[in-house]
Subunit: 345 residues, 2 copies
């Protein structure tokens, strides 16, 4: 795929929160797009999305949508990916899929370019983009693998945009109702239509549906995807995924237990300048990561690095990234840049 | 102190968020108040606070404020407590102090009535009310002590009201500015005037000032106060304290490592019906604790109880309580009820 002057690029799910950011990022990065084909469900077809000063009309995806396409960026849910990824691959496109459909398939690489770029080149037509909360975690863990990671605990503070634009709108509606003095009567779709709670001024210890042993799908993604990306099949991850009334930017309180004593300064040195990492760690001066500083950037911010009070093998840190950019769109475009042979920094 | 028909009660800091809730709770509980003396700094004197249908005028605290007072409830900051608690004790009052001033003093009991009620009766004039985030943690841990607790990790999701009414107002102002389409320009006082960040739609990994080894005062309270209240001097607590844009109700993601294998069902059985605990644990039905369900109540809600994925000795849970009620005012009134010999359930 390397060496072409330009590429025909399709974006499926172009009207969604992540899809729009994919198009924006292609433009911002000056990706060598020869032709841009924006695709969505028939329901969203006809909308326009701006690209390089033009309003590009979104087309309904069909059997011929991927004819001649080099690179297909998918962000339209697992069901849609299962239907259309095989079609795109048969048409000769390489699919970078942001859904969970193929992530754990053995023959599909699951790629974070700062962590396992070489895996991208082993694709058989489909490359999976990991889940948002996993991406920022493994970017922060990768420079620490050399110390021997045994166990990771992670409690998340996840933004509502991880559930799509509808969830952003729902939270803003709740807040507006509150601000106007009304009772907050709207309720927040946590995972399905059946479970609804208020999200304004609230914290909900559920992201996505429950799958096994009292854990959610989101929590098991943190376990299974981290193992695959870091190529540490025995890594132990203890996850708690929690939604907070934030629009953009996931935060994570993370402990890392190593097989040997590791000092916070060793962790700081390993993270400082590491790919994709922005060290932000001068807490007494109020310098630490938070969503409002990470939103709109492609970096993974790490701070509050400190020794566990009781265990010299364990270090704690706070990890924040923009869930729609590094957690989705930007990671996908980074994979595309890898494939076409561009530097992705 | 038991056995009187009524008591002369003083509330110092009566105009603050906690002080007002102390007065409300005295009324709600029909506490045998003979005379209520509301006290504050000269700046707040002259304001009125409703009690039993009357507007009680707040007086400036002075050397004679506690003359004849049986019970003095303090919620006006550590400096004020250090100044006025000795005066109140000399006047013959028992002080229940919500500040951090005396909590770790050896001769001052630090009391959560569901956990260590007997300690209250060993007072020498002053009883300390623990920090909000500690109270709900130890209420949830106490029924589990019998299994042999070795280590606790806690990541908090703390409401802004923990910083007082000013912080609630600041967050609402930020949100209102956002809602009206303005840039959010106000900034949130995290711990001091020097460190300010936006709080609306944000998560800040700092509560109170940094004290040692990269930990905050709030985090060290979780360590030291829990040890004292649970009477487990070697208990290991690994804390991370984080502020979230919630008005009322602190949440905590908690792991508990025991000296033996403990099943989630054992934990559920131990917590179900335990003093002060409301078990709320049917996650697939969307039943778990969150701040909007805990706010306004005196209970500590526990749910999302599950085994650690890798360690049969470790159980995880999610713990939520109203930080101004169980975390402050209600716990103080419960101590008062203990002292006067009332049932506190």
């Amino acid at each position: 795929m390397r060496g072409q002057d330009t590429y025909r690029v399709a974006v499926l799910g172009a009207t969604g929160a992540v899809g729009r950011r994919m198009v924006e990022t292609l433009e911002k990065r000056n990706f060598p797009v020869g032709e841009l084909r924006l695709l969505a469900s028939p329901k969203s077809a006809g909308q326009t999305v701006p690209f390089r000063g033009q309003a590009v009309t979104v087309q309904a995806v069909d059997e011929h949508s991927f004819d001649g396409v080099d690179l297909a960026l998918f962000s339209a849910g697992a069901g849609t990916s299962l239907t259309w990824a095989p079609v795109a691959v048969r048409s000769g496109a390489v699919v970078i899929d942001n859904s969970s459909a193929y992530r754990m398939h053995d023959e599909v690489p699951l790629v974070v370019p700062e962590v396992n770029p070489e895996a991208a080149f082993r694709h058989q037509g489909i490359i999976a983009n990991p889940n948002c909360s996993t991406i920022q975690l493994v970017v922060a863990l990768k420079p620490l693998v050399r110390f021997g990671i045994e166990h990771v605990s992670v409690a998340t503070y996840q933004a509502v945009s991880g559930m799509g634009q509808k969830a952003v709108d729902a939270l803003l509606r709740e807040i507006a109702a509150f601000g106007s003095g009304e009772e907050v009567t709207t309720v927040f779709p946590v995972a399905s239509a059946d479970v609804r709670h208020p999200m304004a001024f609230n914290v909900l210890p559920q992201c996505d549906v429950f799958v096994e042993h009292g854990y959610t799908k989101e929590e098991m993604k943190l376990v299974n995807e981290s193992r695959k990306i870091l190529e540490l099949p025995n890594l132990q991850v203890s996850p708690t995924a929690v939604r907070v009334p934030v629009l953009y930017g996931h935060s994570e309180s993370v402990s890392v237990r190593f097989s040997q004593p590791v000092a916070p300064d060793d962790v700081r040195k390993a993270l400082d300048g590491a790919p994709g990492v922005r060290l932000m760690d001068d807490p007494t001066q109020g310098v630490y990561p938070h969503p409002r500083v990470a939103a709109g950037t492609g970096d993974t911010f790490v701070g509050r690095i400190r020794q566990d009070l009781w265990d010299s093998h364990t270090v704690w840190m706070f990890v924040v990234a923009d869930n729609l950019l590094k957690g989705a769109a930007w990671n996908a475009i980074q994979i595309a840049e890898l494939l076409v042979g561009r530097s992705t920094s």
